[in-house]
């Protein structure tokens, strides 16, 4: 409440092309990304190897299998992404879709004035 203005927002944008020292953060260097993939892969493997030492008490037999959760999680996620992508083909619209106002009622003058030309209807 003591800070009524939002004016400082928007000031922070800088040109993406500008090479400040932050754009070369160690986290985004290709070498560290490669390293992180290896670490990630090792952790993934470890979660499966752990199943040799820890017995999983499943509810439906199939979920006691080795790496069941790994496979099930991976495949269902791929499935969901693909399904979303396909649904997107039907449902996606430009993000200003709703900014164009629908025409609720075409003007009567427009309709009646001269007979031949009232082709336009409300499909805005």
């Amino acid at each position: 409440m003591t800070d009524p203005s939002h004016d400082h927002a928007h000031d922070t944008r800088r040109e993406p092309s500008g090479h400040d020292e932050l754009s070369d953060h160690w986290l985004v260097r290709p070498a560290s990304i490669r390293k992180m993939w290896w670490i990630f892969a090792a952790i993934l493997a470890a979660t499966i190897v752990a199943q040799f030492f820890i017995h999983v008490h499943g509810y439906f037999t199939v979920d006691e299998w080795l790496a069941f959760n790994a496979l099930y999680g991976f495949l269902t996620c791929v499935g969901m992404v693909v399904f979303a992508k396909l649904l997107g083909l039907v449902l996606k619209r430009p993000d200003d879709y709703y900014e164009i106002e629908p025409r609720l009622s075409p003007d009567i003058d427009e309709l009646g004035g001269d007979k031949g030309t009232d082709k336009e209807n409300s499909d805005a």
Binding site: Y72, F74, T76, K92, Y98, P106
Partner: protein
């Protein structure tokens, strides 16, 4: 102990109004103290009916206590405190007042002893949540607020029809478990489900919440849907239909969030997804499932508010809301990045976070009832949550490509609120007993078993692998996705427009036809010589009038 128990909701209403009256320098203090004082009074409410009053000739039960009701009221008050802490230096005082009145509605519903009281506070929430949406201050916020208000007023109306029906049929508006056996109970069911963002009327949530101010979104994320969850637990526990409604909400939330570009709309869809888990648990209806639904609501309010805070902080600092314009913010917003990531891990139910100890209760309850299909769907959905909220949100906002934006972390009070809620998320996850002791039924559920941790980590990490493998398919596009609101924002106006055109044309054609018939008749009379009284109209008219005059004289003579 006070002899006379003040309804906690009234304390919050009083505090909210006091904010407006107080001197500007005192307002932050009043705003911060109100939720804490309310919290104290919430814990003074004992089990059973505590306070009655007379309203419009009815004996109403203003305050009824139980473990479940206190649990929800507690998290609503905590949420109000965190939200005020996040907002008090940035929001206008009327936004804080509206937000606290909105929260007081939620607390009022939590303690409502009968459906009349519930309805009154229900409408209070609808009213002031609309004001919070409007505090977004933009033209799109105004329009979205009106759509939001219409949906909730219609929902309230349906609920009211149901309550009146129950009153007439049974003479009682007691809050008790109802069965779907008549028109009135169906109306109550539908009225509550509209607030829960159940299909098909779920679009209001993702339509309105992202239009609020960076601070307003934090409040909006918490109250409306979770009071609906509480009402469902109280009114329709174990209603099997809810399982399927819940599953639909879960997958609807995931799919739409995957398609979305606006960061707070991603989070809005994931509210629907998370409420779906709770609704599904209520449908299963065992003690474990209802405990799970209540615990998940508690945990969810905290981590979802945290996620909305981190998104709000980004929005406040950059003015950007689209993922396609964001990215790489971890460089200059470390606190926001870490807190947002903790929220994302909590919603994904990683071990040691609050989501892990609550969501797994719902999943386990499905397995315990041998509902294989439901269980497999819930596990797939748990992986999907990590996909759409757990990684997608932090990845596209804080990491991915460098957007060139270099905003600082937000002001200290926003950081403090985020850190506080991060501590809650981890604390509840690390010490599940804290939450379990508040649940309505005794808990003998142990979340931290070696196999549970291993299977959950395996599931989530491989879902993460799927995210990065499928990354090329998830490129952000400048699009929105059509939802049910298309029906009332486009299809209905379009149909009305077409009907209007058709009716306009028919009217025009009729006018033309009548005029043409008239003109033709006149022409006929004028042009046909000797066709009628005379060839010249003035003479003919005189002849008529003469005839009329004669007739009158004759008539008078006879009389």
């Amino acid at each position: 102990m006070l002899e006379f128990i003040l309804p906690p909701a009234f304390i919050m209403i009083f505090g909210a109004i006091l904010i407006g009256i107080a001197r500007p320098a005192l307002r932050p203090l009043v705003a911060l103290a109100t939720p804490l004082v309310t919290l104290y009074f919430i814990w003074q409410v004992d089990d059973g009916i505590q306070q009655t009053a007379t309203f419009l000739g009815y004996q109403i039960q203003l305050v009824e206590g139980s473990a479940l009701r206190r649990l929800f009221a507690t998290v609503f008050a905590l949420m109000a405190f965190g939200g005020v802490l996040f907002a008090f230096r940035q929001s206008k005082w009327w936004e804080l007042t509206a937000a606290l009145l909105y929260a007081s509605g939620a607390i009022g519903v939590s303690f409502a002893g009968d459906l009349l009281v519930m309805f009154l506070f229900w409408e209070l929430m609808a009213l002031f949540s609309t004001v919070v949406v409007w505090c977004g201050g933009t033209e799109s916020a105004r329009a979205a607020g009106i759509r939001y208000a219409i949906i909730h007023l219609v929902g309230g109306l349906i609920l009211k029809i149901g309550i009146e029906g129950l009153l007439i049929q049974t003479g009682s508006v007691e809050i008790r478990a109802l069965s779907l056996d008549g028109f009135a109970t169906w109306m109550v069911f539908i009225g509550v489900l509209i607030n829960a963002a159940a299909p098909p009327i779920s679009a209001w949530l993702a339509d309105a919440y992202p239009e609020s101010s960076p601070m307003g979104g934090v409040f909006l994320s918490a109250f409306t849907t979770k009071t609906a969850v509480l009402s469902l637990i109280l009114l329709f526990p174990g209603q099997p239909l809810l399982i399927w409604i819940g599953l639909f909400m879960i997958f609807y939330g995931i799919i739409y969030a995957l398609l979305e570009n606006d960061m707070r709309r991603i989070l809005s869809y994931s509210i629907v997804n998370q409420v779906g888990f709770m609704v599904c648990g209520i449908g299963i209806g065992t003690e474990l499932a209802l405990n799970g639904a209540a615990a998940h609501a508690f945990a969810h309010i905290i981590y979802k508010a945290l996620l909305f805070m981190s998104a709000g902080a980004v929005l406040y600092q950059t003015g950007e809301r689209k993922c396609s314009n964001l990215g790489g913010l971890f460089r200059t917003m470390p606190v926001t990045t870490i807190c947002g990531t903790i929220g994302a891990l909590a919603i994904s139910a990683f071990p040691l976070t609050s989501g892990f100890i609550s969501k797994s209760m719902i999943n386990s309850s499905a397995a315990a009832e041998h509902m294989a299909f439901v269980w497999f769907a819930l596990v797939a959905a748990s992986a999907g949550v990590f996909l759409h909220a757990g990684i997608k949100f932090p990845w596209f906002v804080f990491f991915q490509k460098d957007s060139g934006l270099r905003p600082d972390d937000p002001p200290w009070n926003m950081q403090a609120a985020m850190v506080l809620f991060s501590v809650f998320c981890v604390g509840l996850g690390a010490f599940p007993g804290l939450l379990y002791s508040l649940l309505p039924y005794p808990v003998d559920y142990v979340p931290y078993t070696a196999d549970h941790v291993v299977t959950q980590v395996q599931l989530l990490l491989f879902a993460g692998l799927a995210f990065f493998v499928m990354l090329p398919m998830m490129r952000r596009t400048l699009t929105i996705s059509l939802d049910f609101d298309w029906v009332y924002r486009r299809a209905v106006p379009w149909l009305v427009g077409i009907l209007d055109t058709i009716i306009g044309r028919v009217l025009q054609a009729m006018t033309r036809a009548v005029l043409a018939v008239g003109a033709n008749t006149v022409q006929l009379i004028r042009e046909k010589p000797y066709g009628y009284f005379s060839s010249r109209s003035p003479m003919g008219r005189t002849a008529i009038w003469m005839a009329v005059l004669l007739a009158v004289v004759v008539l008078l003579a006879i009389v």
